[in-house]
């Protein structure tokens, strides 16, 4: 008995020594907030691949590259919310439906009322749905997977009944300028929203006690609780943040497309989850990266763009994208499962 114990102790000690070296290297990474280097390498590799392969198809043009950023803006914002949820050990599957409902509510409000009302309507609906998810998880102690699986379907239905499957045009110039086609200092508004949301998300996540409490809750809820962290409150807040991000994403969709439809956000679920995981956020909590999620989201957008430029049909695109996501996720999780 004591021999086996001693044996395992010895083994453990050598692993610890072994990992001391690794810790030094990885601490440089983490200090640069690049916890998951693989997403950056993958991003550069795929970028170079497309740049070479699609040189004559206009991949490298400023217009195309800007387009990628504009198209990924809503997904990036949703990804920021999801980083908070996953880091806290929760998940949100309903953000796609929330995006659609928020966009529709904003569009409907702006048919008769000014842009500001539309903005509040969209964001308000997003926050309300997120708070509903959060309350079910935090205080009724229901698993977030099941709660948001249910609300995903529920609000997809709401989005359909709201407008009888019709799309609602958004003709408010102030709104479409702010959330779509407009620009400031020559930079498109969607880029500003992306930068703003990523910066705010990153600061809250990495540099506030709240961010630390989110990570601790996802890492070890009991440790968080005995350390005085109000775990249910954290769970409520991360899902509310998810809803707020989905609401903002809905506004960006409505602004860019100058219309809202129940299908908005429908296809974002897999892409956003993949972007977040590839970006270095752990599926089971305790680890997350906002900048990584941004790069992951841009990677997904670039993949989408490149595959279209390569002339792949929709079904082939889905297969290739699925395979690449699988590969990327496998590589990113390698470190976590060791």
């Amino acid at each position: 008995m004591s021999i086996t114990e001693r044996g395992s102790q010895g083994a453990r000690a050598t692993t610890a020594e072994h990992e001391t070296g690794r810790t030094k290297v990885s601490s440089v990474w983490s200090r640069l907030q690049l916890q998951n280097g693989i997403v950056y390498l993958g991003f550069i590799a795929i970028f170079i691949f497309f740049a070479v392969m699609l040189h004559d198809d206009g991949f490298l043009t400023t217009r195309n590259l800007t387009n990628i950023v504009l198209q990924t803006a809503p997904a990036t914002i949703m990804a920021i919310g999801l980083v908070f949820a996953l880091s806290a050990g929760e998940i949100d599957l309903s953000f796609g439906s929330t995006t659609a409902v928020a966009a529709l509510c904003a569009a409907m409000a702006m048919q008769t009322m000014p842009a500001l009302v539309g903005v509040f309507a969209g964001l308000g609906v997003g926050i309300a749905i997120g708070a509903f998810n959060g309350a079910m998880v935090a205080w009724l102690k229901l698993p977030s997977f099941l709660v948001t699986l249910a609300t995903m379907g529920l609000f997809a239905g709401v989005a359909r009944t709201l407008t009888d499957l019709r799309s609602i045009p958004v003709i408010n110039d102030t709104f479409t300028g702010m959330f779509g086609s407009g620009d400031l200092f020559g930079v498109p508004s969607l880029v500003w929203w992306t930068i703003g949301a990523v910066a705010a998300g990153h600061i809250i996540f990495r540099h506030t006690p709240f961010g630390a409490h989110v990570l601790a809750t996802g890492d070890n809820p009991r440790a968080a609780q005995v350390s005085g962290i109000k775990v249910p409150r954290i769970r409520f807040l991360v899902l509310t943040i998810c809803g707020a991000c989905a609401g903002l994403a809905g506004l960006l969709y409505a602004g860019r497309l100058q219309a809202a439809k129940y299908t908005l956000g429908e296809s974002d679920l897999m892409i956003v989850i993949a972007a977040v995981i590839v970006g270095g956020t752990a599926l089971n909590g305790g680890k997350g990266a906002i900048i990584g999620a941004l790069v992951g989201s841009l990677l997904m957008g670039m993949l989408n763009n490149g595959l279209i430029l390569m002339g792949l049909g929709v079904s082939d695109q889905m297969i290739v994208r699925g395979l690449i996501i699988l590969l990327a996720v496998a590589i990113s999780l390698r470190d976590i499962n060791r």
């Binding site: 690794r22 006690p209 601790a216 005085g228």
Partner: protein
């Protein structure tokens, strides 16, 4: 008869210094199940009291009562002479009482320094942003002072050995405890060398004039560390002995009830 002996042991000690924490007639029942029949115990600054007894004796319940997780069904808790009742664990912590749990309560994927300040992070500026530099500096100083050998305070907990983790948990308690540290089986999962290091840490705590209540199943350890031994059996307080005035045989028979 045994109550009289306890009383005399307690009074004998209180000549030296007034008790920091005074438990009087503590009774705890969960529904119809009595976890602690009646317990009275004084804890003094700079003193290590060992709490021993078989599984189900009520040791963990007592720790939870002192740390504010449970409230006693009857009896009084006096902290520095004033009657107190802790609403929850945070209230006890605010009074300088820290617990090192058996499972350590560390967030494995976070760094040592973030665990050290878990739930009590240092911030700066009007935006109350994390002051990582100060947390790292504080942790480094503490770890050095207590001689907890870890590769770096920036290392994540899961990269540490069991003894190193235990060291971090105790260092955290040291950082925040101004009065009392409760240790629940601090060396149960450790090897010989690591146990020795942790015991050194516990003695360092004692030297800081902190009161320590330690639960341990190892009588060797109890006799190495403690000043007094409090024995529980199935919720009954069997007795309190000065460690220097008793031996393992007596303690074992008190724990088991066999002579």
């Amino acid at each position: 008869m045994s109550t009289m002996m306890e009383q005399s042991t307690q009074t004998a000690h209180s000549d030296a210094s007034p008790p920091l924490l005074s438990l009087n007639g503590i009774h705890k029942a969960f529904g119809g199940i009595v976890a602690i029949e009646e317990l009275s115990l004084d804890l003094h600054p700079g003193e290590i009291v060992a709490l021993v007894g078989d599984n189900g004796a009520g040791k963990s319940t007592l720790v939870k009562i002192i740390s504010g997780v449970h409230r006693p069904t009857a009896g009084t808790i006096r902290l520095e002479g004033r009657e107190t009742s802790f609403a929850d664990a945070s209230a006890a912590r605010a009074h300088g009482i820290e617990v090192v749990y058996q499972d350590l309560a560390l967030a494995d994927q976070q760094t040592v320094y973030m665990n050290m300040f878990l739930g009590r992070e240092l911030t700066h500026g009007p935006l109350r942003l994390l002051d990582r530099r100060r947390m790292i500096k504080d942790t480094e100083a503490l770890v050095q002072e207590l001689d907890v050998r870890i590769p770096s305070v920036r290392a994540t907990i899961r990269d540490l050995s069991g003894g190193q983790r235990q060291g971090v948990a105790i260092a955290r308690a040291t950082r925040w405890a101004s009065k009392l540290v409760l240790l629940d089986e601090p060396t149960a999962a450790l090897g010989v060398a690591e146990t020795a290091k942790v015991e050194k840490l516990i003695l360092a705590l004692k030297a800081r004039n902190i009161a320590i209540l330690i639960i341990s199943h190892s009588l060797d350890q109890v006799f190495r560390l403690s000043d007094r031994i409090c024995v529980l059996r199935r919720g009954q307080q069997i007795g309190i002995r000065r460690t220097s005035e008793t031996d393992k045989n007596e303690t074992v028979s008190m724990i088991t009830g066999l002579h």
